[in-house]
């Protein structure tokens, strides 16, 4: 069955450093991958979408890479700030067929930026 793995433990990073979060997947051949941010008690908020033919995507201090050979995406936050503390989720197609499917999410990585 399809599986998405994210670091289940909290990631503690010093303010100003780069935070790197990992999303690994098995039994998928996704054409797209998405990243979301979720704050406690709130719904996820979309951050970035990357396509299989894009090795890297940037948005302000955020960078996502997508390695379809390794079946891995890395999510980077540069010059991290305490306000970046949140849970970050990666998402793929619910089913390998694509099309009108739901997103399936990893369990998320809880990121804590220490001042």
């Amino acid at each position: 069955s399809q599986k998405i793995e994210q670091n289940s433990e909290a990631l503690n990073i010093q303010e100003g450093k780069t935070a790197t979060l990992t999303c690994n997947y098995t039994n998928y051949s996704p054409a797209y991958l998405q990243w979301y941010r979720q704050d406690p008690g709130r719904g996820p908020v979309f951050l970035l979408l990357i396509r299989e033919n894009e090795k890297e995507k940037r948005k302000e201090r955020l960078k996502v890479t997508f390695d379809t050979t390794l079946k891995q995406s890395l999510f980077h936050i540069t010059a991290s700030q305490p306000a970046d503390s949140a849970t970050y989720l990666c998402a793929l197609d619910a089913y390998s067929g694509g099309g009108a499917d739901g997103l399936t999410f990893g369990k998320g990585t809880h990121l804590i930026i220490q001042p």
Partner: protein, 118 residues
Amino acid sequence: DVKVTQSSRYLVKRTGEKVFLECVQDMDHENMFWYRQDPGLGLRLIYFSYDVKMKEKGDIPEGYSVSREKKERFSLILESASTNQTSMYLCASSLYAPVGGTMNTEAFFGQGTRLTVV
């Protein structure tokens, strides 16, 4: 500002009750989704809909049904609430993309409904 609105933020219901969770979006999106989120289990897809009156089962549809009579509204129904349905329920919507489908557009989530079944 685009919006997905869930009818209740907090809800307490009794075991055996029929429960309706309502979700409305104002973005004219074709796709709508219901998830539940539990500690340690993450977000799990219950049902989704890609058009009015259309629905597809997600990973955990047992004990739930859905209704989509209008494009902007997607309802989740707990036929007979049980304590193991105590959870955070999240509704989302997204635009249909001819290429890549769901994955090629961002999903917008509501604020969530925290349901407690006692």
